[in-house]
Structure formats: structure tokens, C-alpha cells
């Protein structure tokens, strides 16, 4: 029970000294995880005031920013930590690549990392709509229009005509819950942003940290 517990075995029992040098790791993985925890905590705090509906979303945001004690602080912490996390995750990926830490036996963990950067960007994408202002709505409109061109699944993509895929039932409409960015989209993005993607990302992070240990700790110098 204790030996098989992933929580107690996320960290390796010993570290090589070179591996925890800032010059080697830049601490980018750790900082990324710290920023994820910040967004997680502030995000939960924000959920106490935010209602994901067309009528309320924008006004709850105004309320948070102007009338809730520390509301602006919490929201800005959430925003900045999220923006920073995208940057640090890319720097972490760059460091891992430059130190050759993607090579066997760590190739599986590189793939987990690719999935994690994807989920990080999806968290950004879904969170971007939640303020429900003009910027958010049009950004998601433009971005989701790209899904029209998905091969086989998008109604303006290759093979759409042969498969008879229309704008009502394609990759874009399952994302938007309709054919335009509407309150239904807001609710869908909210559920993805607060529940589905964070859980998936957290599970992959556990796997990611555990694999570091399994693959023999942080990689050595080249």
C-alpha cells in the first residue's frame, strides 16, 4: 500500500548534484508546476463569484474587478500565472531539448510533455472566452473558424463534401455547441476549463513527475 502509492513516490529518493543546478534545469519545470498550482488555487477562488452564462459572466467579472475585496488581485494572479505558464512550459521544453533529455530512456516522458503543453494551450484557449467581452468572443470566433478546415471532421475541410458534413454537425459545432459563439459555447468552455482539462493535465503531471524518477532522475550532463 505504501510502496505502491504514487503520491509517496513522485520524487526520486536521491538527486544528482548537477541535476538540481539552476544552470542546467533553469528550474523551468518546477516553475511551470508552481504557476499551475497558482492558477488552480486562484481559479477555484474565482469560481465563487463567476457565473458562466450570457447574462452574468461579464458583469460578474466587473463585480470581481471593482467590488469584491481582493477580487482584482485574484483575477490578475490567475491571468498572469496562466500567461507565464505558457512561456515557462515552452522554455522548459526548450531546455529539455537542448540538454538532450528527450532521448531514451526518457522518450516516453517527452511524449507526456507534448500532451501537457497541448493541455496548457487548451486551458489558455478555453479560459480566454470566459471574460465574455468583445475581445474574447471574437478571438474564439476567429480561432474556432480554423476548425472548419479540419480534414474529414470540418465542414469546409477536405472530404467534407463527400462525407456530407454540414456546418451543424462538424468539429467546429461540437466545440461551439452551435454555429456561432453563443452562451452555449461559454458554458461548454467553462466546463472544459474548470473540470475536464485541469483533471486531465493533473493526471498527466503526476505521470510526468513519476516517470522522471522511473527513468533515472533528471538527466546527466551531455
Amino acid at each position: 500500500m505504501i510502496l505502491g502509492n504514487v503520491w509517496l513516490h513522485l520524487h526520486p529518493p536521491k538527486m544528482r548534484r548537477h541535476a538540481v543546478r539552476i544552470k542546467f534545469t533553469w528550474c523551468m519545470g518546477g516553475i511551470t508546476f508552481l504557476l499551475f498550482l497558482v492558477t488552480l488555487v486562484t481559479g477555484v477562488v474565482l469560481m465563487f463569484y463567476y457565473r458562466p452564462t450570457g447574462e452574468y459572466a461579464y458583469y460578474d467579472l466587473k463585480y470581481l474587478m471593482h467590488d469584491v475585496p481582493f477580487g482584482a488581485v485574484v483575477r490578475n494572479m490567475h491571468r498572469w500565472a496562466a500567461h507565464s505558464m505558457v512561456i515557462t512550459v515552452m522554455l522548459h521544453m526548450f531546455r529539455v531539448f537542448m540538454t538532450g533529455s528527450y532521448k531514451p530512456p526518457r522518450e516516453f516522458n517527452w511524449v507526456v510533455g507534448i500532451l501537457l503543453i497541448t493541455f496548457t494551450l487548451l486551458l489558455s484557449f478555453t479560459g480566454y472566452l470566459l471574460p465574455w467581452d468583445q475581445l474574447a468572443i471574437w478571438a474564439i470566433t476567429v480561432a474556432s473558424n480554423m476548425a472548419r478546415a479540419t480534414p474529414l471532421l470540418g465542414h469546409e475541410g477536405p472530404f467534407a463534401a463527400q462525407l456530407g458534413i454540414g456546418s451543424r454537425y462538424d468539429a467546429r459545432s461540437i466545440m461551439l455547441a452551435g454555429t456561432i459563439v453563443a452562451p452555449a459555447t461559454l458554458l461548454r468552455f467553462y466546463v472544459l476549463h474548470c473540470i475536464v482539462i485541469p483533471i486531465a493535465a493533473a493526471m498527466l503531471m503526476i505521470l510526468h513527475f513519476w516517470r522522471i524518477r522511473k527513468d533515472g532522475g533528471i538527466s546527466g550532463p551531455l
Binding site: 461540437i174 455547441a177 452551435g178 456561432i180 453563443a182 452555449a184
Partner: protein, 198 residues
């Protein structure tokens, strides 16, 4: 066993014939296979269990996919009625439905009749204006220009303006459907539905 023939001549010791290697069936190892049955009872039940598990998972997954496409959308109707065809004399471009629908209704005899032109610039999506004196649509954002038919001829727009489906309703009014596009670059202009003969 490359040296089998040589050893058989020099060393006449009787050897048991080599055992026939059993083939793997359905990925099951040979030692799990008996001679008179393909699967053991246990294999059958475990395979059945997995099939049921994966089957119910995929049924649930397909059901969830369908669940994510609602039958009713709370959105503006993509179709609208735009008066009677005789309200649009030949050669004119009407801006009547620009504020409410972002659509020009142009009567272009050389195109076969009435067309519904989408007022969304193909460059970055601003709303061009119809300049009647110059007979062109001009986009205020980056200067794209389109002929009366909607062909891009100046500025950064990469494609002609898009056309919506146009037809007649039961009451004889023009019916425009903004869920169906007709694109020039796909050779769809001139297809039935892309214009309304007048």
C-alpha cells in the same frame, strides 16, 4: 540448427523429433492453447469480459458525442426574407440588409439574376462599403477592393467575396440562407442556389 545434418551422421544417437511449434491464436501464447480447443474456458470468459467492457465504453462514447450536438440551437435564424425580386432593378446593388444581416442583394443580369453577397471582407473580416459612383466594394480597414460581382481586384483580399444561398419562399419573397456558402474559387458561382433568376 544449421549443423543438424553433420551431427546426425557423426553421432547416431536417436533424438526425439523436434516438437511442432504451436501457432499463436488471437495473440494467446501456445502454452495457453490445448490441442482440442482454441481457447481455454478462462480465455473465453476474459475475452468476453473485455469485449463487453470495451463495447459498453464505445456505446457510451458514441452516445456522448451525439449528446454534444443539441437538436435546438438558441441562435439567430440563418435564413431571412428580403422582400420581392421586383424591388431590385437590374444592375443595382442594395444595401438595405447591410445593417441587420451584412448582406448586399445585387441584381446582376450577366450573373444570371439576383445574388446575395456576404459583406465580410475575405482579408480580415471587416465590412466593406458599396461605392455606387465607383461601382466597387471598398473595405475601409486595409483598402481591399471588389468589383460589383465581388471579384477582388485591389488591396490585400485573397479571394472574391462569398455569396449566400438565395431562393424564393412560398409567399414569393426572396429567401436568403446564410448557412450555405457559394465560393468563386471553388467554381460554385452559377450553381443552382447561388443566384436567383429574374
Amino acid at each position: 540448427m544449421a549443423s543438424e545434418a553433420a551431427t546426425a551422421q557423426s553421432n547416431p544417437v536417436k533424438r526425439p523429433p523436434p516438437k511442432k511449434k504451436k501457432e499463436r491464436i488471437l495473440g494467446l501464447p501456445p502454452d495457453r492453447l490445448s490441442d482440442d480447443h482454441i481457447w481455454t474456458r478462462r480465455d473465453f470468459f476474459s475475452l468476453t469480459g473485455w469485449a463487453m467492457f470495451l463495447g459498453s465504453l464505445s456505446v457510451g462514447g458514441i452516445g456522448f458525442l451525439r449528446f454534444m450536438f443539441p437538436r435546438v440551437l438558441f441562435e439567430p435564424d440563418p435564413t431571412f426574407k428580403a422582400g420581392f425580386p421586383n424591388e431590385y432593378p437590374p444592375g443595382t446593388v442594395s444595401e438595405k440588409y447591410i445593417p441587420s444581416q451584412r448582406v448586399w442583394i445585387a441584381n446582376l443580369p450577366e450573373e444570371g439574376g439576383l445574388v446575395a453577397i456576404s459583406a465580410i471582407c475575405t482579408h480580415l473580416g471587416c465590412t466593406p462599403r458599396w461605392l455606387a459612383s465607383e461601382e466597387k466594394y471598398k473595405c475601409p480597414c486595409h483598402g481591399s477592393g471588389f468589383t460589383k460581382e465581388g471579384i477582388n481586384f485591389e488591396g490585400p483580399a485573397p479571394r472574391p467575396l462569398e455569396r449566400w444561398k438565395i431562393g424564393l419562399a412560398e409567399d414569393g419573397q426572396i429567401l436568403i440562407d446564410k448557412s450555405k456558402k457559394y465560393l468563386s474559387e471553388k467554381g460554385e458561382w452559377g450553381k443552382p442556389g447561388s443566384y436567383l433568376p429574374v
